[in-house]
């Protein structure tokens, strides 16, 4: 049985705004019947102000699909279309106190239904741009299609590469066989053979060209300074402890330490650091194994 939050269960057992909405002027139908999840989102928009006056849904799907639909309607009612479009799939998941990794696609579907319904109201055609594959990495919810596309686009050759680019395989590591299988397949396409032993070698070359250690650490500090106000608002803080090659050690302080969302927060910071430094880095909390804890209890 899935480990659904109380919020998910509550929205599933007592869905809000379910059923047909009379007088809807924006309708989005998205989902996949083969996958077993599909949703119709109906909006009633006030034309003068673009405010969503009412939102209803009908869903063919599992508990978390129904809960995500219900949450979405609650989240968008009263917003203008532009405000509503800012609701991300992560916002929907957060609203429900999180979804299991296998179920994150339900929140993605909600976000897409919203885009489709707004497009329908505005007389535009909405087309979906992502394809979903079988879930490979459960720790970070990365599917086969994303891994395959990334390997192809970047000529990746090792599991470590895949982890660096997509995070897949960076947690509990039990999906490494699956990642290797995708590597074998894609590498055959470009006439190469997958060599498991190649993985270990390229590990240890460290800093990217054109940046001294000092510049690098200053950049890291700058990223941490940028997220600090947000953490402080929640009663927490972060402190840089050390930088060793590609590993950045930090201290999560105050309310952040041991917070259920700690791993997610760290993942977000890790992504910001990678964007800024233009290299793969790993962020490691020194006081508790937050990232690995998240990995083992997906």
């Amino acid at each position: 049985m899935w480990d659904y939050s109380e919020k998910v269960k509550e929205h599933f057992f007592q869905p809000r705004n379910a059923g047909v909405l009379e007088g809807a002027n924006g309708v989005g139908d998205v989902g996949s019947i083969s996958c077993g999840d599909a949703l119709r989102l109906m909006l009633k928009v006030e034309p003068d102000t673009d405010v969503i006056l009412a939102a209803n849904f009908q869903t063919f799907g599992c508990g978390s699909a129904i809960a995500s639909s219900s949450a979405l309607t609650e989240m968008v009612i009263g917003k203008t279309l532009d405000e509503a479009l800012k609701v991300s799939n992560q916002d929907i998941a957060d609203y429900l106190d999180g979804l299991p990794p296998e179920k994150m696609h339900c929140s993605v579907m909600g976000r897409e239904a919203l885009q489709a319904a707004v497009a329908n109201y505005r007389g535009e055609v909405w087309s979906d741009d992502h394809e979903e594959g079988a879930l490979v990495c459960k720790c970070f919810a990365i599917d086969a299609v994303l891994i395959e596309d990334t390997i192809r686009a970047n000529n990746l050759t090792t599991v470590q590469d895949v982890t660096n680019y997509t995070k897949a395989g960076g947690g509990c590591s039990s999906c490494h066989e699956g990642i290797e299988e995708i590597l074998v397949k894609v590498m055959v396409e470009r006439g190469e053979t997958f060599k498991p032993s190649a993985a270990a070698q390229e590990q240890e070359e460290a800093k990217p060209a054109g940046m001294t250690n000092l510049q690098r650490i200053r950049k890291i500090e700058a990223v941490l300074d940028a997220v600090r106000p947000q953490l402080k608002r929640d009663g927490g803080d972060i402190e840089l402890v050390d930088v060793e090659g590609k590993t950045i050690y930090v201290n999560m302080k105050g309310a952040c330490s041991g917070c259920q969302m700690e791993a997610l927060t760290l993942q977000g910071i890790q992504q910001k650091l990678m964007d800024e430094l233009k290299e793969f880095i790993k962020i490691v909390p020194t006081k508790a194994g937050a990232l690995s804890r998240a990995s083992c209890h997906p």
Binding site: G36, F60, G61, K103
Partner: protein, 402 residues
């Protein structure tokens, strides 16, 4: 625990009488059956008795044909890998596309090693076409592995006949019988079945114990090599406690065989008829005229199975579903797809599997609850309108793939 447990094809409760015979083997009878002293000897005798109890349930000719393993999956893997190892000149396998993952995942793994695997198709009721099977049988086939009864629909395959056909071309025959053992009378000595897998926890024995039946004379290559346990055919210290439990469970299953096929079947039929009488747009999957006495698999159109299970669970009712969501996969049950059940129904399949502990009152309660749940979910379904599906439901709602 309170509640109505109609998920006995997933696992069963261990009978109290089984627990009782097991308990001494955790403490006073803890010896290693291989030891020379009396601590070990008594355990050895208990295992011998259990072996004979299982032999009796299977209708095997000899007790030495019973090899204790850790589970049904181990028995399946051992059987297929042994057949390939013992006949290296034969590079083909025949199975069906509705087998349990214990077989299908192994087969697709073997395909990577260069083996050719033929997957027999089924018709809309989950039945095989024996003429298709006959055409595939050649002297290249090392082993045929076909389940006795399907775990999702309960549908039987004609394994006795298929074993004879396999032998005609010198191929070995294995059957995954984990759902059938204890519910179907067996007389393996009169068949040409070479290997058969049993799982203890499907018949009120504990989890973690299984059996591979290996007909005498069948060439065999062990999976686990090491000590001389199980006559060197399955090394590793015996799980003596669970073996004793499985022996007792086998004896009790033998006694309950008629009950399973009369009373349990009657309750199953009552449940099924009761639900179908009250719920529109629902149908039984598989072959109702040829299936396990305890299993009913019902497809509820236009709603999704996990949502049904969550609501059933709220009423304390346990069942299972072939929807993609319950397994975290992207496709609904491969068994439902193989039978050509449309997606709008395949995702809404619910399997009710009873046991000899199921009661009339439980069946009546489920008949009462299910229609309400189905109606409640259909109110949320974009395919549904009032008390019937929309006209041309696939056109009324055709979402953009996302």
């Amino acid at each position: 625990m309170q509640g109505i447990y109609f998920d006995n094809n997933a696992t069963t409760r261990v009978d109290e009488a089984v627990v009782e015979v097991m308990l001494p083997y955790f403490t006073e009878q803890f010896g290693n059956p291989s030891s020379m002293h009396s601590f070990g000897n008594k355990v050895g005798l208990a295992i011998k008795k259990a072996r004979m109890q299982v032999q009796e349930l299977l209708g095997a000719e000899l007790d030495s044909e019973v090899i204790f393993t850790s589970c049904g999956t181990e028995s399946d893997s051992t059987a297929i890998l042994s057949a390939l190892k013992a006949q290296p000149e034969r590079k083909e396998i025949i199975t069906t596309n509705v087998e349990h993952p214990a077989i299908l995942t192994l087969c697709s793994w073997l395909e990577k090693d260069g083996y050719k695997v033929h997957y027999l198709k089924v018709d809309g009721k989950g039945r095989l076409d024996l003429s298709e099977y006959k055409k595939l049988l050649t002297d290249q086939v090392a082993v045929v592995s076909v389940m006795w009864a399907n775990n999702e629909t309960g549908t039987f395959f004609p394994v006795v006949e298929m074993a004879e056909m396999a032998h005609a071309v010198g191929a070995m025959f294995h059957t995954d019988a984990v759902q059938a053992v204890g519910k179907v009378p067996m007389n393996l000595k009169d068949t040409m079945i070479d290997m058969l897998s049993v799982s203890g926890h499907k018949l009120h024995a504990p989890k973690g114990i299984g059996v591979l039946y290996l007909k005498r004379g069948t060439r065999f290559r062990p999976l686990l090599r090491g000590g001389h346990q199980e006559r060197g055919r399955r090394a590793g210290t015996e799980n003596s406690t669970s073996i004793v439990g499985l022996g007792k469970a086998a004896e009790m299953a033998m006694e309950a065989m008629t009950f399973e096929n009369t009373e349990v079947a009657r309750l199953r039929n009552k449940l099924e008829a009761g639900i179908l009488a009250k719920v529109p747009r629902a149908f039984v999957t598989g072959d109702p005229s040829n299936r396990l006495p305890n299993t009913s698999n019902i497809a509820f159109e236009f709603i999704e199975g996990e949502a049904i299970l969550l609501l059933l669970n709220k009423f304390g009712i346990a069942a299972s579903s072939g929807s993609a969501c319950t397994s975290g996969s992207l496709e609904p049950s491969h068994v439902m797809r193989a039978m050509g059940i449309p997606y709008t129904a395949a995702h809404g399949t619910v399997r009710f599997s009873l046991s000899r502990y199921s009661t009339e009152a439980e069946v009546e309660r489920v008949i009462q609850v299910v229609p309400e749940i189905i109606a409640q979910l259909r109110k949320l379904s974009p395919y549904w309108d009032g008390d019937a599906p929309k006209a041309e439901p696939e056109k009324a709602f055709a979402p953009t793939y996302a």
